[in-house]
């Protein structure tokens, strides 16, 4: 198992891939696009510095978080966003937590979490439930499950908002960065819309078999529920009759 001190050697550092929601800082959208674009160009040393700064800022703003992380068994968790060319390594327990940037195929983690960047950010900020994601298979966990459960529970105790944390790190540059983020998000959304429109033209939508199947399934479920209820009523009536006749 790796210790937090091994993090520097976890592979080639890449820029910090993260996103942030609008709440608390920016009503104009998340800086996801800005961060993804920035992630491609930031040098390793800057990425490490940003990751560390964000983590320390989070710990200062949420003083119970480092204490709770220290209380967990020492472990390294790899977090691999499906839609980014790299991942993160978070080490915690016993020593102060450390956050690094790693190649997607890096080894040596006690546990690995895989999901889309958006899902991971929503999880971190407490907007979606990890068990529900797990039931739907939108979240893949491998390795030591206890490590992931412990980390999830500790993070879920804190009202974390990445936009707020980044704003704290950026300090007086935060307003300018938010403005750029808004502009970039607008461009990306417009581009995505154009691509989607072009795709619709090139590939007209045919009836989706899975939707039809799902609707059919829902109808059957409703019928079964209704039949079960009627059966229960019938049985209750029968029981009352039997009791009377007895």
């Amino acid at each position: 198992m790796q210790t937090p001190h091994d993090l520097e050697d976890l592979g080639h550092a890449l820029p910090v891939p993260t996103s942030a929601p609008p709440a608390g800082v920016d009503d104009g959208g998340t800086p996801l696009a800005l961060l993804q674009f920035g992630a491609i160009w930031l040098p390793r040393s800057v990425a490490h510095a940003v990751a560390t700064a964000v983590l320390r800022s989070v710990e200062r703003a949420h003083p119970r978080l480092p204490r709770n992380l220290l209380a967990l068994d020492p472990a390294v968790v790899h977090v691999i966003p499906n839609d980014l060319p790299y991942g993160f390594a978070l080490a915690f327990g016993r020593d102060p937590a450390r956050l690094g940037v790693i190649p997607r195929e890096a080894h040596g983690a006690d546990a690995t979490i895989r999901a889309s960047t958006r899902v991971l950010v929503d999880l971190l900020e407490g907007r979606i439930d990890s068990d529900s994601l797990f039931f739907r298979r939108d979240l893949i966990v491998s390795g030591n499950t206890a490590v992931v459960v412990g980390l999830r529970n500790v993070l879920d105790r804190e009202p974390l908002m990445l936009a707020d944390e980044l704003a704290r790190v950026l300090g007086r540059f935060a307003p300018a960065t938010r403005a750029v983020a808004r502009r970039l998000n607008g461009w990306v959304e417009a581009l995505q819309e154009r691509v989607a429109a072009a795709h619709r033209v090139l590939h007209p939508r045919e009836p989706d078999a899975s939707e039809t199947f799902r609707a059919e399934l829902d109808r059957h479920r409703a019928e079964i529920a209704a039949l079960t209820a009627r059966l229960a009523q019938f049985e209750a009536r029968q029981k009352r009759r039997d009791d009377k006749s007895a």
């Binding site: 407490g126 439930d129 039931f135 739907r136 298979r137 412990g150 105790r157 229960a232």
Partner: protein
């Protein structure tokens, strides 16, 4: 809360979940300490004494209650942590403790007579003589009924026992032997009844194999999920076992209890409170489920149908499926 309204009792595994539950409309929130004295003893979960005090203050400031679950069974010669938990709940100003063990009930009755006592589902009291025994000997004011009873049976118990009843309304369902389940002990040495954890995470692993995900508890493979197939908790009761060459759910299918559609019937049966299961789940789950039930209960109180709220929670359900469980059982 209006007289005759169903009390909404909601789970909180963390202080953040407690606040989420209160903000989403819980009437009461139940939680536990960070040790094996409660049946959700998972890493990083639960409250330390200071957090409990803060949580109670948050709830009381908004007119809500906090119930503290101390509902596992002390082993021989080691009752200290359980008694201490009762003392701490009383000192923190909890509105009630939820207990299962007879010895602990006796301790709470003797040491903190004014502290309201609820009987945990872990006590598995499912008939009138049993419930009356707890009521008469330990002053139990409310019983959390096991998930083995039909609505008619719940109604009969309410009439027979004359104490408050709390029934499960949403969440995971087990093989219906609450307080007596040691299944996971056979695979990993601990169970919810002894250590407060069913299929503890440090014994659970997931392995990719031939495009499927295998869920394992200790050395035993419990299930294999094909790509896109909804997954289930890796508990022994929800394993898919091979018998006569065919894999099937022998004990319990991965499905969630959802009583939203039968709230009017539960109210008519005389039920006092509805319990949402899920202290081990996130504050997002708590906010979503509590919010949906709050809206449905408010609609019910206004004399409106709960129909529009029925599909709100399917995404939160284990296996993506819902059931009425025993409430409408056609079997014995």
């Amino acid at each position: 809360m209006n007289a005759g309204a169903l009390e909404l009792v909601c789970p909180a595994g963390t202080p953040a979940a407690l606040r989420a539950a209160v903000d989403a409309g819980a009437d009461s929130v139940y939680c536990g300490f960070r040790d094996r004295t409660n049946a959700r003893n998972y890493p990083g979960l639960n409250f330390d004494p200071d957090e409990l005090v803060e949580g109670i203050a948050y709830a009381h400031d908004r007119g809500r209650k906090v119930l503290v679950a101390i509902n596992t069974f002390p082993p021989a010669g080691d009752t200290g942590p359980w008694c201490l938990a009762v003392d701490r709940a009383a000192e923190a100003g909890a509105d009630a403790v939820i207990l299962a063990d007879i010895g602990l009930l006796a301790y709470a009755t003797r040491t903190h007579p004014s502290l309201r006592r609820h009987l945990s589902v872990q006590a598995s009291a499912a008939n009138a003589p049993s419930i009356r025994y707890y009521r008469d000997h330990f002053g139990v004011r409310r019983v959390v009924l096991p998930r083995v009873l039909s609505i008619e049976e719940v109604g009969a118990l309410v009439a027979d026992t004359g104490i408050e009843t709390e029934v499960f309304a949403f969440g995971s369902v087990g093989p219906m032997s609450e307080g007596r389940c040691f299944l996971s002990s056979y695979l990993c040495g601990v169970s919810p009844t002894s250590e407060g954890a069913c299929a503890p995470a440090n014994h659970v692993s997931y392995v990719e194999s031939d495009g499927r995900v295998l869920s394992k508890l200790g050395p035993v493979t419990l299930n294999a999920f094909a790509p896109g197939e909804p997954a289930a908790y890796p508990t022994p009761c929800k394993g898919r076992y091979v018998t006569h060459g065919r894999a099937s759910y022998l004990f319990e299918e991965p499905v969630a209890l959802n009583a939203l559609a039968i709230l009017p019937e539960l109210r008519a049966a005389g039920v006092t409170a509805l319990k949402i299961e899920g202290r081990q789940r996130s504050r997002a789950y708590v906010a979503q489920v509590v919010g949906a039930f709050r809206q449905a209960l408010d609609a019910l109180a206004r004399g409106q149908s709960v129909e529009p709220h029925l599909s709100a929670l399917r995404q939160e359900a284990e296996g993506g499926r819902e059931t009425f469980g025993a409430y409408r059982k056609g079997w014995k």
